[in-house]
């Protein structure tokens, strides 16, 4: 069922936003006049055309594109905490498109393209820094996987190539590329368009953009149940009251099975914690993102000078978001194996987030057997970069009820039909 016809799409109304610009910063600074709220708080309405559960990048992007591209503005985004409190505010913000399957490469490449113009589209600087992305190979089998990825990427028109240890040393002078290293570096997949982004800014930018189109963002609003009548979604129950709606979109990542369970849709998703850590700032020296699959570690440096580290998921399922000591010990060891001269740099903070892992490391997107209940889940350790393309495609799907080509292979039915989209080789460490 399509949306938008039932209600007057302009019920919420646009509102003029205060445009951000250097000039506006200047004049407001002079006049000392404060900025308006980036997004507003509202009372809960008794009904919405579309209810999106989860105020992470996926939920907010979907809301934004529903409003901006399709004029569907009677939309509520619900989050049990604050927006970005899930994976979207905890990730290490790596954006890239050097995946392994043609479907994956095409999909993530579209997201990179959207990210490239997102600051301008949203009038919010999301600091997408395409500083380049290196995936190191420490043995011939990972070198082979890098070559594989490079070949698939090239065929899909994505810039990736395998480079030599000498080239790596040029890009990252701190790297120990000597043959005597414990895990010598044999080469790397270099992906120049990859990089990092300011994850919170993406969340806030989408929230502000959606709000400007009239979308309601409800923080501190937890979904506790979903009503289904004759295999159709009819309402959502929340801690702040019930909402009648024909469309519910599950954008809750690490918590997604709890929401899917509410309507009895089974998904092959399991939630695993993923940890990360950051150091004190040191003077910038690292211009690229560096990933080592064999050492289970990746590193980037923020513009502020902090080193951001991540790894692969914890080896057990859990909803706990606490860090462990083993994690930072192993992480530090592996960082020093790559860059031995950093031994005096201090680790400042560690944390964890939840990842909704699928068997093939690809997402699950699309309609379900319950009419009006849509999935945008299975984002695992890699879903932040997919925010824009997912929002765009989910919005199109909801507005037109036709599944866009670019997400067709990510349907739930693939697990029953044996059409997995295997991305483990490209996504298990370097998110």
């Amino acid at each position: 069922m399509g949306v938008g016809g039932a209600h007057d799409g302009s019920r919420n109304g646009h509102r003029p936003t205060a445009r951000y610009s250097a000039f506006a910063l200047f004049t407001r600074g002079l006049r000392k006049s404060p900025w308006p709220r980036a997004w507003r708080a509202h009372d809960l309405r008794p009904s919405y055309d579309v209810v999106i559960v989860g105020g992470g990048v996926h939920g907010l992007a979907t809301a934004y594109y529903l409003a901006a591209n399709h004029g569907i503005t009677d939309v509520a985004v619900l989050d049990k905490g604050y927006i970005g409190s899930g994976g979207s505010g905890r990730n290490t913000a790596i954006v890239r498109s050097n995946y392994l399957t043609p479907e994956g490469v095409r999909f993530y490449d579209r997201s990179v393209k959207l990210y490239e113009r997102l600051s301008a589209d949203l009038n919010f600087n999301v600091m997408f820094s395409q500083r380049g992305h290196l995936t190191l190979a420490h043995n011939d089998s990972s070198l082979r996987t890098m070559r594989w990825r490079a070949e698939v990427n090239k065929l899909e028109g994505v810039d990736s190539e395998v480079i030599s240890p000498e080239d790596i040393k040029r890009l990252v002078p701190y790297m120990d590329t000597s043959a005597s290293a414990r895990y010598p570096i044999l080469g790397a997949l270099h992906h120049p368009p990859g990089g990092t982004i300011r994850h919170d800014a993406v969340v806030w930018g989408y929230a502000r953009g959606a709000d400007a189109h009239g979308v309601h963002i409800h923080q501190g609003t937890e979904v506790t149940g979903i009503q289904v009548a004759r295999d159709r979604v009819t309402a959502v129950r929340t801690t702040r009251g019930d909402i009648a709606t024909p469309v519910v979109v599950n954008c809750t990542a690490g918590w997604s099975t709890l929401i899917s369970d509410m309507v009895g849709v089974r998904t092959p998703v399991a939630t695993f914690p993923l940890q990360a850590a950051v150091t004190e700032p040191v003077k910038p020296f690292l211009d690229t993102v560096v990933v080592s699959g064999s050492l289970h570690v990746y590193v980037s440096q923020t513009d502020r000078g902090e080193l951001v580290f991540g790894a692969s998921v914890d080896p057990f399922t859990s909803y706990s978001m606490r860090g462990s000591l083993e994690f930072i010990e192993e992480l530090a060891g592996h960082v020093l194996a790559l860059m031995p001269s950093l031994s005096k740099v201090r680790l400042l903070r560690q944390w964890a987030g939840l990842c909704d892992m699928t068997p093939d490391y690809s997402p699950i997107m699309g309609p379900t057997p319950v009419e009006g209940f849509y999935l945008d889940v299975g984002w695992g350790t890699y879903g932040f970069k997919a925010g824009p393309v997912s929002g765009e495609s989910m919005a199109e799907l909801i507005a037109t009820t036709k599944t866009p080509e670019i997400i067709a292979t990510f349907d739930l039915a693939r697990f029953a039909d044996g059409r997995l989209v295997g991305e483990k080789g490209a996504a298990s460490v370097g998110h």
């Binding site: 610009s21 910063l25 600074g29 404060p34 900025w35 709220r37 980036a38 997004w39 507003r40 604050y82 927006i83 409190s85 505010g89 490239e116 600051s119 301008a120 919010f124 600087n125 999301v126 600091m127 820094s129 395409q130 420490h138 043995n139 011939d140 089998s141 082979r144 996987t145 070559r147 594989w148 070949e151 701190y174 150091t279 004190e280 700032p281 040191v282 003077k283 910038p284 502020r304 860090g323 000591l325 930072i328 010990e329 530090a332 060891g333 020093l336 194996a337 950093l342 031994s343 005096k344 740099v345 201090r346 680790l347 400042l348 903070r349 560690q350 944390w351 044996g418 295997g422 080789g425």
Partner: protein, 935 residues
Amino acid sequence: MSLTAVAAPMRLDAQPGEVIERGRPLSFRWNGAPRVGFAGDTIASALAASGVRVFSRSFKYHRPRGLLSASYHDPGCMLQVDDEPNVRGAHRRLRDGMDVASQNTWPSLRFDVRAANQLVGRFIGAGFYYKTFMKPQVLLPAYQSVLKRFSAGGRTSPDDPRDYYDKRYAHPDVVVAGAGPAGITAALAAAESGAQVLLVEEEHDLGGHLRWGGTEDLARLHQLRDLIAAQPAIEVMTNSVVVGRYDGNWLAIVQRELPHACERLVKARAKVLVVAAGLIERPYVFQGNDVPGVMLSTAVRRLINLHAVRPGHRAVVLSANPEGDAAAEDLARIGVEVRRVLDVRRGEDLVAARGGGGVRSVQCHDGARIDCDLVVTAAGWTAPTSLLNMAGDKPVYVAEAARFLPSRLPDDVLPTGGIAGTGDTDALIAHARATGAEAARRAAGRGEAVRIPALPAGRHPEHFIGRTHGMVDFSEDVSSKDLLSAAREGYDSVELVKRYTTVTMGPVQGKLETVNAVAVLSRATGRTIGETGTTVWRPPYAPVTLGALAGRILEPVRYSPMQRWHEAHGATPLVAGAWIRPDRYGDPAQEVRNVRERVGIIDVTPLGKLDLRGPDVPRLLNLLYVNKWSKLDVGRVRYGVMCAEDGVVLDDGVTGRLGEDRYLMSTTSSGAATVWEWVEGWLQTERPDWQVHVIPMTTGYASMNVAGPRSRELLQRVTEGVDLDPEAFPYMHVREGRVAGVDDCFMWRIGFTGELSYEIHAPAMYGLHVWETLLDVGDDLGIKPFGVEAQRIMRLEKGHAIVGQDTDGLTQAFGAGIDWAIKLDKDDFAGKPELVWQRDRDDYFVLVGLQPEDGSVVPPEASQIVEGRNVIVGRVTSSRMSPTLGRSICLGFVAPHLRAAGTRVTVQLPDGRRITARVTEQHAHVDPEGVRMRG
């Protein structure tokens, strides 16, 4: 005037509690200029004694910064010391010859060009960077370089050496975090009750605030120290911090500046953790609160009493508590002119401090303006609840006490001292004494519970923010104004405001600023401090070097017993996971020819080997392999393929039956660890009733493969007790016997290389002997060693797939082209349901043999097989030039419509060229019938 007086104009005469050793002067450099200090000085106290007031420039606005707390967590003096960045200058003890520099300055601390940022401050408030540089994307590098200039950290260099670090494990009954009077007392009480205690103190000496107190405090300090020294059950660690509390009271403790290592991580499994971390004095938020010369009362007392440094000449003191009053007294005692004490308890207040490089005057609530060079604030205390939070506590805010107090803790964590409540020293000590005794009791798990007296919350004015705006986060340069405007823009919960303004995210980790930030936010939103709540405190409590966390890298390299021989014979090493193996000794093609024509020997020790015993081994094998195992006679071996439960090929190898209930399973070298876990996983969780005992034997045997038409002849010369006649010891059999005089060797006849070959497993300690003997004895037969590369060529000639190379994370068994091995009529086996289902489909890529039409071209591995412009229909997984055939050969995946033998496919080479290859009849390119290996 004496020389030291010139060099140290702010140094006081001897103070009763001073920790400096005046007889041990030290010299060091500060931004290039020579300076002096004493042993016992911190870098900052020595500098302050020499008259330095400005230690750094702030992160964003490059405002001059002086001392604030004069403790480890002082945001104003992060310094570069030699090659070490971000050294806490107010904590690190001075050493002779140190080269100390300020960090965030250019070109110099005094004239910092970027201080111009202050002028544009109102335009670059909270979140300004989100509001500009939005387009076009090409300008982005410009904004990045602007941001990078804000980076405040110290320097590293790619040439910095990696220092020595080590770790220690400790198993104390009780760990006491913090050695102020309460911590010391708790430690003593616990020890007296029979516990082994580890007492951990962040500062260089025990005693907490007693150290900078008056005569009475000092007397008590010495008494407590004497008691500790006399108590053998207490181990003391100073200059050490409990940085993390993880599940099961697994504690991370970092020791700093040991003689042999700059930091050490101690991992302690404590039965009980006593948190006696005291209280941290918090800054007061008012205009100019970050001007050098504005200090906390504890900073002033430390400078005077510990380091004999005069903090200023004319002071104004803002006091909300007795500690503030004591600071005023200290100042008066050393002759500082205390021009006014503003007593918060009487409604008096500070409005603003003025000055650039140092404070020059203050403005008071009554309009009075007082000239001064020192402003001291004693506005209240923050409980460092970090360790409690890590233990699951959610501290509650108590308004009358203007602080957070612990609420609910697990049984193995007990708070005491200032963090637990308020009281005079006697009350705190009584609490600590009971807590220590109770900790010991809980650690012992017996005895009668000790009643811990309740500590009152106490009274303290709620005095966080003044009537003007001031700095909240000194390390991040976030002011109360920034927090207000962020809240107004909608970033109005603690977590959002933290992320938007970066308040609490700097190197001080929120210790000084969190509660003030919450106070500002609660005022902005009209909620109470309790309702607003704090951000989540995340480990570590204090920063830890990567070196200490890493420790020594304990990832041993594995070598076979024959490694020395390989090195001596010029082998090129190959890193294969944990192992280093010979890749080749010379030309691999030559090595191949030697095997095919004469005989070669390869070291295959890394092959995984599991010794399986027990009556249920056949059931286990049937469960784990896709093929059948019930009827394997003693003396036979069989090749098997394992799948994971999703039907994806996991590993392969041969398993032999050595005796009635005794089997040896071999796995791929890279799969050895995984398969062991896999086997144990099934036995321990799914089939605990089966009688199978598993012993990993990989390194227990030295393994070598002797391959080639003359291998039998060679072995006949050195083998005893085994009839090598092909009738008696045919292909796919195993025998035990004596080889080269070594008993308990066994050999199996298998053929990864496709030649007649014997794989010999000799007890590891005799490996080198067996190896050398075979090479000696086989000299006239032309024996030569061969490496991994030659083996890979031969296995490709023979069409043997390598799991992980010729299969990938999605290759189910039918896709690997081993249909013959999959026995779907077996009751059950791992992956069966998926394979049953795969059998009925034909939509998967299949592994096939491929030969380029132009046999001189070797398509690199990972070359894609394409149709049309860019549709991917397969890829080359293995490719080599075959020395035996003199042409290129490959294995590769192809889409189902291309799998028939003879199909021509297009291979796109990495350089963009396209070639044609033909799908072969079978995987094997050489001797597909297997005549040679069966010979």
